[in-house]
């Protein structure tokens, strides 16, 4: 269990990660701040409290928990989290989306950025990859866990449901998937674009252990991930339907899909940063 002091510590890190996201996206005037800000608390809880991992990166990740990001467009939050947890120097965040950078617009292992094990960006593929990695852990007698995050709009991809059918059939119970349930996608709300209907019922019908959580409350997301972990090892994969707010942490970016793939201008950046404490020092 996380103490109150732990939670406050995590919240401080999250504030810095949000500053990193905004500054990265602002500098190149491209990237995806909305979903990145919405998932910041999840990433910080995962990397600074839940994952048993080694920042001395090894592709095979034997004996450590693995994380895969399926909705690769929220790379800014992942890059910042990796840097702040020691995978590489935070100053490298300034190269995001620039030529010759290891921090590609969407994550890739081709540039050998520590922490990245698979390319993502074209949606719907990360759940399959995570299941495969989880199966290899089982074959290798490795008791560590596999975590993955996907978007809610991403659930419109057919491959997700192929994977959803496969994992319970093969009793993949060392996997905790999370859906970033912010209800928004590029063309509008998921309700308008392509209704997801009852997600809990869908995943349950496919044979998953389903939990729901609030992804923008550090204490609650930590509790939810600890709870998810307690449900592993029982013959079923676990999915965490995590309610978030796109743009969380910056008042004028919240409650809309408008900031999905739009960078703040100079004024907006100043206004946004004024709402977020610099806790670990800007890169």
């Amino acid at each position: 269990m996380a103490s109150q002091a732990n939670i406050q510590e995590l919240e401080k890190i999250a504030s810095q990660v949000r500053r990193d996201i905004l500054r990265m996206v602002h500098e190149v005037q491209s990237g995806h701040p909305g979903g990145s800000l919405g998932c910041t608390d999840y990433f910080v809880a995962l990397y600074f409290h839940i994952l048993k991992h080694k920042p001395q990166f090894n592709m095979n990740g034997e004996g450590e928990d693995l994380f895969f990001l399926s909705n690769g467009h929220i790379s800014p939050v992942w890059y910042s989290t990796l840097a702040r947890s020691g995978y590489f120097e935070p100053k490298e965040l300034s190269t995001f989306r620039k030529i010759d950078s290891r921090l590609q617009g969407h994550p890739t292992p081709e540039e050998a950025l520590p922490g990245i094990r698979i390319a993502s960006g074209s949606l719907g593929q990360g759940l399959s990859v995570s299941i495969g990695a989880a199966q290899t852990k089982k074959l290798n007698g490795d008791n560590s866990m596999v975590y993955t995050l996907m978007g809610d709009g991403e659930l419109q991809e057919g491959q997700i449901w192929e994977a959803a059918m496969y994992a319970p059939h093969h009793k993949i119970d060392n996997l905790i998937a999370t859906v970033d349930f912010n209800g928004q996608q590029i063309d509008g709300s998921t309700e308008q674009v392509m209704s997801l209907r009852d997600l809990r019922a869908k995943w349950q019908a496919f044979g998953w252990e389903v939990i729901e959580s609030n992804g923008n409350d550090m204490s609650e997301i930590v509790k939810a991930l600890e709870h998810a972990k307690s449900l592993t090892g029982k013959g079923k994969p676990v999915i965490n339907i995590m309610k978030t707010e796109m743009g969380a942490g910056v008042d004028f970016m919240m409650g809309s899909h408008k900031w999905h793939g739009v960078a703040p201008n100079d004024e907006q950046l100043t206004e946004a940063l004024s709402q977020l404490e610099e806790t670990l020092g800007d890169y």
């Binding site: 592709m59 095979n60 990740g61 034997e62 693995l66 895969f68 890739t108 292992p109 081709e110 094990r117 698979i118 390319a119 993502s120 960006g121 074209s122 719907g124 593929q125 990360g126 759940l127 399959s128 990859v129 995570s130 299941i131 495969g132 990695a133 989880a134 199966q135 290899t136 852990k137 074959l139 290798n140 490795d142 057919g158 491959q159 192929e162 994977a163 059918m165 496969y166 059939h169 093969h170």
Partner: protein, 319 residues
């Protein structure tokens, strides 16, 4: 048939070479795992499944997921061999291969049966003729198309020792076994089957046997043919190609594939940049296939020995 330089006593399908090679490779290397999308019998993966049930994974009719699972399984050291028809191994899952396997440089072996026209009666929906092109366009990808049972078996075993994504293409019908059962398969190394001086035939897959038959006919007509088996289309053995064409000065390429994007284009690219030479293509000419017996289709679409003979006579006149 005329007096061919290679003979055979048995015919067998190349997919059986894959099945037997997979079993043998898996006995030697315990990191090999097998995945199949509801086609165990067609892919000849049954023996592997029986011998190594804990290393075999049925994915159901869900090829996109199979490619993703395979990519994920490499993380931690497994060497996944995926098995389904060539159409469902490439076109259906191109983006999964592109992102999760090729761009991610994952050690997945994409094993594809029933390639080309010789799939026969099922018709054009399943007769993929674009797969070599699609796969050779992907950076990091190795593309292999062996010619008979023995070579397919050897290739299936050899790719386990190559780190990186591989597309291994083979077929459905029984065809002559005419290569050495104990051959060492070297990825990227072309094999000169017959030496000659008037023309070079670069053939791949099932067309290598057709070219063996064509050579016998041409020899009787006084034409000296050099026949080179290009089992690896990528990386292409440029040195062997240039060396042979420096001698013969003209080329016929032969493949069970569209002329767009296949072996012929790969060879033409090398020649045009180094030593341009007249070239004729034995390939399907921008058409879909159709139902029929494999041998009938090979004749109708111009992929048999007789058409190779005609192409050789034509290209020699263009020298």
């Amino acid at each position: 048939m005329a007096n061919t330089k290679f003979t055979y006593t048995e015919k067998k399908d190349t997919r059986s070479g894959f099945g037997d090679g997979l079993l043998e490779a898996a006995k030697k290397n315990d990191q090999i795992v097998g995945l199949c999308a509801d086609l165990i019998g067609s892919l000849k993966m049954g023996a592997f499944q029986k011998e190594f049930p804990s290393r075999f994974f049925q994915t159901g009719i869900a090829e996109a997921n199979m490619m993703g699972i395979a990519a994920g399984m490499t993380i931690g050291g497994k060497i996944p061999y995926t098995g389904t028809f060539a159409n469902f191994s490439t076109g259906r899952v191109y983006d999964q291969i592109r992102q999760s396997i090729a761009y991610s440089e994952k050690n997945v072996k994409i094993c594809a049966s029933h390639a080309g026209l010789t799939l026969g009666e099922d018709g054009a929906t399943h007769q993929i003729l674009e797969d070599i092109g699609m796969m050779r366009m992907l950076p990091h990808m190795t593309v292999i198309n062996p010619c008979d049972y023995n070579q397919t078996k050897a290739a299936t075993m050899a790719i386990a020792d190559h780190v990186g994504p591989v597309y291994l293409r083979f077929g459905r019908p029984v065809v002559p076994i005419f290569t050495d059962p104990n051959q060492k398969f070297e990825i990227g190394k072309a094999i000169t089957m017959i030496e000659g001086t008037d023309v070079t035939i670069f053939a791949t897959g099932h067309l290598v046997w057709e070219a063996v038959e064509a050579e016998a006919i041409l020899r009787e007509k006084g034409i000296s043919v050099e026949l080179i088996n290009i089992h690896t289309i990528k990386p292409l053995d440029e040195e062997a190609i240039l060396k042979s064409v420096a001698k013969t000065k003209c080329v016929v390429t032969a493949e069970e594939h569209q002329r767009n994007g296949g072996l012929g284009d790969a060879v033409a690219q090398v020649l045009s940049q180094n030593q341009p030479a007249p070239q004729e293509y034995i390939a399907v000419n921008d058409q879909f296939g159709e139902s029929g017996k494999p041998a009938e289709l090979m004749v109708k679409y111009g992929l048999d020995a007789k058409n190779i003979v005609a192409a050789v006579e034509k290209v020699i006149k263009r020298k």
